[in-house]
Every structure is written in C-alpha cells, then in structure tokens.
Subunit: 279 residues, 2 copies
Amino acid sequence: MRVTIIGVGLIGGSIALTLKSRKFADQVIGVDANTIHAEKAIELGIVDIMLPWKEAVKMSDMIILATPIDVTESMLPALLEMCNNQIVLDVGSTKKNLCEKIERNSKRGRFVATHPMWGTEFSGPQSALNCPFDEKATVICDREKSDPDALEKVEQLYKVLGMKIIYMNSDEHDLHVAYVSHISHITSFALANTVLEKEKEEDTIFGLASGGFESTVRLAKSNPSMWIPIFMQNRENVLDVLNEHIAQLRKFKTCLEKENYEYLGELINRANEIRRILK
Amino acid sequence: MRVTIIGVGLIGGSIALTLKSRKFADQVIGVDANTIHAEKAIELGIVDIMLPWKEAVKMSDMIILATPIDVTESMLPALLEMCNNQIVLDVGSTKKNLCEKIERNSKRGRFVATHPMWGTEFSGPQSALNCPFDEKATVICDREKSDPDALEKVEQLYKVLGMKIIYMNSDEHDLHVAYVSHISHITSFALANTVLEKEKEEDTIFGLASGGFESTVRLAKSNPSMWIPIFMQNRENVLDVLNEHIAQLRKFKTCLEKENYEYLGELINRANEIRRILK
C-alpha cells in the first residue's frame, strides 16, 4: 500500500516509521510545508519521498493528516474533494468541529476520524520513534459515517500499529480528552509558569528537581502551535474542567489556610482513589 | 559500620538495601512501629534484624530517621538524648521546624539534617528499591551545626548512595522544596480529584489515559500519612506557591473565556522555557 503522511512531525513521523517497519506500507510519501522538517524526514529515512500534497494524494491509497488540528480542519475539505477511492484519516486531538465541518461533504465516507493516544512533549521529525504505539489506545469517532471499506482499512492500520481501538462519537471524544489529556497540559504549563515566576534560583530548581517535579511539568515543554488550536477547538470542555480543577485546588488552599488537616486528609484519600483506575 | 534505620518504608528500605549492597553497612538494624512492615522488611532481606529503637540505637554507629516528618520531629530529641558518639540523620522533606526544635539540644552536633531528593508514589518496604539514588540530588542543611566527624560520615554515606550533595540552610531548603516538590503533589492530588469528580465513565479514563495524564497524576497516589505532616510543616511556603499556581491557572482560564489566543500563546511560550532548566 502507498501511504501519504501530511505533516511529518512527531506523530506523522512515528506512524511512517512504524508502518514501514511492519510492512503495512510499501511506500511512504511525505508532505510538509516546513522545508526543514521535509529535509529531516528524508534524511532520517522516515519517508521515501516528499511531494506537494496534490501529487501525493493522487498517487496514494491512504492519506494520513498529521498536522496541527487547525491545519487539518482547513485542508480536509479540499483533500476529500480530490479523493476517488482513497482513504483519509486524521490523528488530531479534537474531533467535534472537524466532523461537523465535513458532515455534508459528498466524500464524507472516505474519511475516518481517529485519535491515537500517544505522544511526547517533543515535536518535529527528529522526535519520531519507531513502534511507540504498542498497547496504547486509539479512538475512532463516528465510525458509522465512514464507508465500511475505509473503516476496515483504518482498523487494520491501528492493529498494525499495535493499538487498542475504542469507539465513541466525536462529542464524547472531545469531552473525555479534556479530562485525560488537555487539562494535564494546562496544569503543566501553569505549574512551569508558577515555578519560573517565583523561583529565581534556577540552578536550585535544576539541582533539586527530582522525579516528582519532572513528571508533572514534563508536558509544559509541549509545542504551542499544536496546543493552541486544540484549546480553541475544545474550549468549552476545557474551561469546564479547568474551573473544576481550580475549585479543587482552592479546597487544598482552604485546608492549609484554616489548618484543617482532617479535611486535607480526606482530599488526599479521595485523590488516592485514582489508583483504582491507573494501576 | 552498624546502621539503624528507623522506618523501613520506601526511603528507609531503599537506603538499607543500597548500603548493604555497596558494603557501607556490615549490619542493618530495622526499627518500625508497624509490625506488618517490620515482618516484610525481614522477609525481603532489607534489614538483618528488627529491634526496639532504644536497643537499636545503643548498638549502632549511625541512626537514620526515615519516618514521616511528624514522627521524626517527636522522636529526635529523645534519640539524641541516648546518643554518645553515634551519628543521627533524618531524610525528611521539611527542615525548618525540625532544626529549630533541636537548636539548643546539647547533642545537636551529632545530628545531620538531610533530604535525599528521590521517591516514588508508592510506600512501604515492598516498594523499596536497591540503588535508586544514583545521580539524584540530596540536600544537607545547616552543616555548620553538625560535628565535623558526623558531617563527614553522612557525606560519605551519600556518596556511597551515588548522590550529588547540595548544601543550604533549612529555611532555604523548605522554600525550594515547596516549588519543586510540594506544589507538584498538590497539583496532582487536585487533578485526580477533578477527574474523579467530573468523569463518571471510569473505564474511559482507564482506556484513554496515556502518558500525559499518567505522568501528571502519578503523584496523586502518594501516601497521606507522609504528606499531611509535610504540608503542615511547610504550610506558609506551600500556600504562597499554591496561590501563585492558582493565579497562573486563572490566566489560562481568562485566555479561554475571552478567546485571547495571542496571550495564551505567550503563556505557553513562557512555560516552554522550563526546557532551559529541565532538559
């Protein structure tokens, strides 16, 4: 199969590497507006060739949109326009707006809306990894709106990537990822800013920062050009969760202010219940 | 050397295992009020023998207090009282109150206040690891208040554990750890509670939770009997950082409410500067 990856960054690049090493793709064509990324993707052997997107689409069986979600949204209608029997999928972090936008598109059936739940705080083709998806979850949204053959091929693709497929509609998807992904990023960004604001002795941070701090601020290294469009798209859900998170932090604040350590214990015991969910 | 470890949990147990495997200690005596932990420590070969603390202290060259900080604070004066030439160190997460409490103790010189910056979200002897401290930082506080021979032996101990020693006074220590450790724990606890409050479909959390979420809520599994005393002891510093953190989160909230994505970009770019500090 010939696969085009639009956006040869962390996710697109990792998918390309994995599909090639697991023989799902005979040829991987890359598309990227960023010429530095394009050169790097060739140099690292992530893709076989870089082409302008229209040429690439014509030659391909499957097209994977792995750009920031705003780019995906603006490209998708024109891309579907060009398709005959090709299959198009995206791998973005929000789904509701995107799926609404193409709801009445005559080629809607060629598109499968997906979200592989893997990433790191790094970006660009130099951060791409071979086979990082094993055992992770991927979401396929609104599957009933995709043509059966397109859905089946995309399911095959995710099985080759080693992922567990979860099905939901795009509204549910956006709500759930606000909880399990987007709020974590806001928390990390804010925590980094808290420390950078208050702690002037940076050498001390560097020296003392142990596992705890590093893991909670790791996501603060994430790329704004990916994350701003996500927050724009999922604004209402993210605001809802963020309000709740601030309310929860205020409970901790009140406990400390009033020295109510019994209630503090209750809050921590409650938080410990996350063990039930995350082993 | 004969070393007594009071509190054979995650930290005490890991120190015991490492000191034995690196031949710093010929014999490790354990002390623990929790009989289940005591039995487990023997069963796992973490300590050679469990004894009541007064017996253990008499027989030892060095005594390591690895209990929750409130227990450390209440035991330390009586423990110093019993010492002749023994060396006593603690490994707790706050230092100011503890050091003030024994400031005028006639045996102050036998005590070295330390804080190895390593831990996991797990607790108890079953969580103890052999040699987890390599390349991590440890803090020694108020070194001028310890007898030179005691300080030297404790420095040797930390070199054997593989740690980089940072010196500061106990006030500075408590301020810095509020930033790089304590606030991360509050954030994680609050984030876990946010998700548990809002997300009723726990299976979904489990399915979707990928690296990002797991790393930010990992610390929410931490033990309240360790953490409540830390927050009590470092209340003012933690409140100060927590207020700043809530203010930083409100900035993200305002950006989303007002759809001010330019400022959101500035906030994220600023947060990205944490890369300068944490590679």
